[in-house]
Amino acid sequence: MDPHEDTELSGIVKTQAERHAAPAGLRDRIVTSIRQAEAPSRHEAKSRGWRQWLNMGAAFAMGVVASVTVVYFLTTVSAQERLAQEVVGSHVRSLMAAHLADVASSDSHTVKPWFSGKLDFSPPVHDLAHAGFPLVGGRLDYIGGRPAAALVYQHRQHIINVFVWPRDARAPSPPPAVEAQGFNVIGWESKSMQFWLVSDLNIIDLQAFAAQLRGAAEARPLPSGG
């Protein structure tokens, strides 16, 4: 018997003290981390060759594609946003300066001819009073660096400006529905025209109006003039 030993206390510790077993899962985690640590050192030795250059080339190409895509979307989105801002700005100015309409009439046959000679295109003009959106008038405006027709409609106390100009492949397409400065903006393109609607009207009613206007413009052949 070792004189240094204390059999009594040893017995107590051996029987009473807890021998903690490794929790379930620790072994698997260790094996996983070891094999992960092993992986890079193995690959280093093997891939110092054309593979590495190929990978780098592929990574570089993907980087270029990603940047170009990001830049494309950034510029496209910001151009669309800029135009939406301009449309909203024009809408706000039309309400502020008592300059809502150059030609105040609910008669589409008065409004439509008024534009001819002032614009190089003829916007579709329809009174939608039967649907609760009476035509108030028309106005000349200047949006996105080009002359535009502004048609003014009313729904209860809300004024709706409809901006129309010919389609241009270089110009950003209008957003389906966005909010800018608290105004709702809805847009679409027909075969030859772009339409941008702006109003403080709620988006549901504005979409209903957009559907009416779109239906009227597409269903009926446009009268050639008054």
């Binding site: 204390d6 206390l9 510790v13 009473q16 003290a17 807890e18 490794a22 620790l26 094999r35 092993e38």
Partner: protein, 178 residues
Amino acid sequence: MSGTDRTRRFEAAVLPHLDAAYNLARWLLRDEQNAQDVVQEAYLRAFRFFDGFRGGDARPWLLSIVRNSCFTWLRERACDHVEFDEERDSDQHDPALHEAIDGPEQLLERKLERTQVNAAIAMLPPLFREVLILRELESLSYEEIAQVVGIPVGTVMSRLSRARSMLRTALAATDEED
């Protein structure tokens, strides 16, 4: 993925000692989660140093890496006066030691609860807790403990008897409090 020969040799040598490694870390850190983290880290370290392992029993070799990881962990968090214990360890003429040995039958007469014993061991300073756990729970020889802790065999023996006397004192105190 089956791993390379080196990985397989490593796993065969050290994975059987996972319970011993965890038990030591769990007792030194006194926390389940920290013990798991430190043991996992120690295994990774062991894997990197495996080329320096000369063969034979991997258990003391692994446990020395585990205990060093644990003490690094404790020192970084300034726990338990880790450095201070060495000085007390050198004091071999501690009266408490002899008092304790004088009355060995006292402990047997008392019914010691498992929780009391565990708590008393947990309260020992880490350097004393360490040798006690390695000796009583892992049944390592003095030589193996010397290898794990990195101290001479004589120091292992004196530290171990100091640990026992501290434990006796602690258990006696616990019992009186009841």
